[in-house]
């Protein structure tokens, strides 16, 4: 039925379609022209502002978390930040944390691909698209601050979720998940979160 109707209307439709096709193609060309500049820059390895900011957030988060003492071999053992899978930060995280200490601990950045490696970190960043690379049990069973950036990550019981409010970065804290992992997140950080989830 619909097919027949579509055919009957085809003639007039083709008229506009052709025009629409032409102009859409024009629009696309317009887009591509403009893309040439920015993508050339992107290829040089520039990290988007979003991940520059997120790197700074991750560094800041380490100041507000208390891990169980057993997670560190010694009083001055470094805090290890792990980035799971594809690293969206480039060298940004290293650049930000270089030469800085938090509570007398240096910060080490590692790119992680296996569960075994993941269990050694204190803070694990799970980039968008990497949520299912490792079983969620990895960060649910060990005191690891798991930081993600997607709804699907929130569903996996992560500790901190980045969100966006217009063009500003916001974050939510799942305090129940933190408690289950025996992490203490300072009230100061909780106050800055746009939401503090207390559900399991």
């Amino acid at each position: 039925m619909l097919r027949a109707l579509k055919i009957s209307f085809d003639a007039s439709r083709r008229h506009c379609r052709r025009r629409a096709g032409g102009t859409l193609a024009g629009l696309l060309g317009f887009f591509l022209l403009l893309l040439a500049g920015p993508t050339a820059r992107a290829a040089e390895g520039a990290v988007s502002k979003e991940y520059q900011l997120k790197a700074a957030f991750l560094y800041n988060f380490t100041k507000f978390v208390e891990w169980p003492a057993a997670r560190f071999a010694e009083a001055n053992s470094p805090i290890v930040i792990g980035v799971l899978g594809q690293n969206p930060f480039g060298g940004e995280l290293e650049k930000i944390t270089e030469g800085r200490t938090v509570n007398g601990r240096a910060i080490v950045v590692k790119v992680i691909t296996t569960a075994e490696e993941a269990s050694t970190v204190h803070l694990l960043f799970v980039p968008r698209g990497e949520e299912t690379r490792l079983p969620a049990a990895v960060w649910q069973s060990v005191p690891i601050v798991a930081v993600g950036e997607s709804d699907s990550f929130a569903a996996l019981g992560g500790t901190i979720m980045f969100t966006r409010e217009a063009d500003k970065i916001r974050f939510e804290i799942n305090i129940a998940a933190a408690e289950r992992s025996r992490l203490k997140i300072s009230a100061q950080l909780q106050k800055l979160a746009i939401a503090v989830r207390r559900k399991p």
């Binding site: 619909l2 102009t23 629009l27 893309l35 699907s152 569903a155």
Partner: protein, 665 residues
């Protein structure tokens, strides 16, 4: 005349833009701040991209604006766009039946309320054939909705023709905000069932997509006589959206949807031979598709360009006739600050609509196809007379279309912000409503009997309806938890289109020869409406939020039999959102809608006032899952809200109960 996109303009824009990008792109990069030294508060104030809309904080907008958030919609379990609009003070939403809704603001409600412009992600869904919105053809995935912005009062200076009494902007989230899988299923007396599936993923760095499909099947309701209104319907819709943010200066969006639906209706068919009139149950097949591309480019902190193009196809059964319309539209908007005091927004647009309408006995057309080409340019300047205190906005749109010629739609607005917690604004604006193809070109046979026919004739000479509106508004937030808003309007209408009786006549065609009782659409009515909308929001405790609103409307229109103006005089709504322990939310709304004293054509009986109570309980068994149950219209078994001029029976809206599961993974 063949349609041509203004190519020189495009070429010029292209040159200017690519030059701008190449030469100034690098210059715009500010020296990188040392992010490591910033506190979390400071980081939270840093924009991710400089492509952010130039947004005036809502509390300071010099217009009667209400924003519906996805949270408002989620809490009340709202499943359709018209139902969501009930949350806006002064919006007049009246269900005609299961699948038809009349939506208007500040008067003139009708199945095709013709003074309200509606856009979904920048695409107009106002039909130039019927002058109005086919609400049963519009839908979104509510979980992917960013917000619905409703502006009461004219928006013609920026949005152009038909933004007479209001503009509704329905805006969906960027694909990057809707990553992962979502499945929603609702089952209830009004849903049997509705299922939505959406998946969002990432194709490359900064390149995100989502795809969705949504199906619903909604049952018919009963008529006031107790019979079946025959208006059950089902619909399948799917679509995609791709967002690409390659750099801080550019955002690209490509999106599209396609749908088809089978919509049940009881219609009256007339003939000049016995039985003259009979009611038929029909299943209308409606379909549509659209694709839209948008590019936003930032030249600098104070200069930003948006270019958008879309194609839209619509096939809609309208009573006994079929409307097929396709539209190509291009828009350019540039926002630029000149000095410290001037914020200029200017732009241009071109739209080409080709409509084909089939003729039947009930509705016939002098021409089977109609073409409407619309060209517009506009400019608006926001002038800071006293920085942060007094702002004056002046602007106009100039439109040209082949049918009604040239239109100017100017407006001025003044905003005074005496303290950080108070805003006073005033506005005067002019808007027009262009005649529909129907009013211009059709013949509707409304009733027939032995030897006579009742008809309405289109009028090729018909002109635009004109409005001059005066508005006044006040907003105050006495405390962080409490805000109050009031707006008042006085609208003066000229050249309103009504059908005026002709002297009785005689026709030999169609056969058999018969007496003709006819009317013709003419710009012969005028009048004024005035009223006010009040609303208050109170965050009573951290877990309890209350909202209340009141709207009052008075119409004073010339005494010609006025068809199509039927809005309640008063509306009241109180909403409560309560977060309970154990991840439970209890939400509710009580709405009073006043009587409609003179319904359409004064043929049908007045619609009595009604009170509606909706309650919902939501539970989160897991972080990624939400289970809700809602009861709507709890106070009565069923009640009428509106009457359709096409139907002699009145459908009534029943009490309903719906359960819904939302699952993200």
């Amino acid at each position: 005349m063949p349609s041509r996109f203004p190519t020189p303009l495009l070429a010029a824009a292209l040159c200017a833009v690519s030059l701008g990008s190449a030469q100034t792109g690098e210059l715009l990069r500010r020296p990188a701040k040392n992010l490591a030294d910033m506190s979390i508060e400071e980081l939270m104030n840093e924009p991710v991209t400089s492509v952010s809309k130039k947004e005036t904080p809502l509390g300071e907008s010099p217009a009667a604006i209400t924003v519906i958030t996805p949270d408002d919609i989620r809490r009340l379990g709202i499943a359709s766009l018209p139902e969501a609009l009930r949350l806006v003070p002064g919006l007049d939403v009246a269900r005609i039946g299961a699948n038809e809704t009349a939506v208007s603001v500040r008067g003139f409600n009708n199945e095709f309320a013709n003074k309200l412009l509606v856009l979904i992600d920048g695409r107009s869904v106002y039909s130039p054939s019927s002058a109005g919105v086919f609400w049963n053809a519009q839908d979104v995935v509510f979980e992917d909705l960013e917000r619905i912005e409703v502006i009461r009062g004219p928006g013609a200076t920026l949005w152009g023709a038909n933004a007479v009494n209001g503009v509704i902007n329905i805006i969906t989230k960027s694909a990057r905000e809707t990553q992962g899988a979502l499945v929603v299923t609702a089952l209830g007396t009004e849903e049997r069932p509705t299922t939505t599936a959406r998946y969002g993923g990432q194709l490359a760095p900064n390149l995100y997509y989502r795809v969705y499909a949504k199906y619903f099947d909604r049952p018919s309701v009963k008529t006031s006589a107790g019979g079946d209104a025959g208006d059950g319907w089902h619909s399948l819709r799917s679509g995609f959206r791709v967002d690409y943010e390659p750099s801080a200066e550019n955002v690209f969006t490509l999106q599209g949807d396609a749908y088809q639906s089978d919509v049940g209706k009881n219609i009256s068919l007339f003939s000049l031979t016995p039985p003259f009139s009979q009611t038929a149950s029909v299943l209308e097949h409606n379909a549509g598709d659209n694709v839209l591309g948008r590019w936003t480019h930032v030249f600098s902190e104070t200069s930003r360009l948006t270019l958008q193009g879309y194609y839209d196809f619509l096939r809609q059964d309208v009573g006994s006739s079929i409307d097929r319309a396709e539209t190509c539209d291009f828009d350019l908007v540039h926002q630029v600050a000149l000095g410290d005091r001037h914020d200029i927004t200017w732009g241009a647009g071109y739209r080409d609509t080709l409509a084909k309408d089939t003729s039947t006995f009930g509705a016939s057309w002098a021409h089977e196809s109609h073409r409407l080409q619309l060209f517009n340019v506009f400019a608006q300047d926001e002038i800071a007379l006293v920085p942060d205190r007094l702002q004056f906005t002046v602007g106009t749109k100039f439109e040209h279309n082949e049918l009604s010629g040239e239109e100017w739609e100017p407006g001025v607005r003044l905003r005074w912000t005496p303290t950080a917690r108070q805003t006073v604004w005033a506005a005067a604006s002019h808007a027009v409503r262009t005649p529909s193809f129907l009013e211009r070109d059709s013949r509707l046979n409304l009733a027939a009997g032995p030897g006579f026919l009742v008809s309405i004739f289109g009028n090729p000479e018909i002109g635009t309806e004109k409005l001059t509106a005066y508005e006044l508004g006040y907003r105050v937030a006495p405390a962080k938890q409490l805000s109050f808003e009031a707006s008042a309007f006085y609208d003066v209408y000229h050249q309103l289109i009504v059908n005026e009786p002709n002297p009785p006549g005689f026709e030999i065609s169609p056969v058999p020869p018969h007496a003709l009782i006819s009317q013709t659409w003419r710009n012969s009515a005028q009048g004024e409406t005035y009223g006010a909308e009040l609303s208050v929001h109170w965050q009573a405790t951290a877990a309890w939020r209350l909202a209340g609103s009141y709207a009052w409307l008075h119409s004073n229109l010339t005494s010609v039999p006025f068809v199509g103006s039927s809005s309640p005089g008063q509306q009241i709504q109180i909403r409560s959102n309560l977060d309970l322990p154990h991840h439970v939310e209890l939400n509710g709304a009580v709405t009073y809608v006043g009587a409609i004293v003179t319904p359409l054509g004064q043929i049908n009986a007045p619609i009595p006032a009604y009170v509606r109570l909706d309650l919902g309980l939501i539970f989160h068994p897991a972080a990624a899952m939400e289970v809700g149950v809602w009861g709507v219209n709890l106070l009565d078994r069923r009640h009428p809200e509106f009457t359709s001029p096409q139907s002699t029976t009145v459908a009534e809206m029943p009490r309903g109960i719906t359960g819904k599961i939302t699952w993200r993974f």
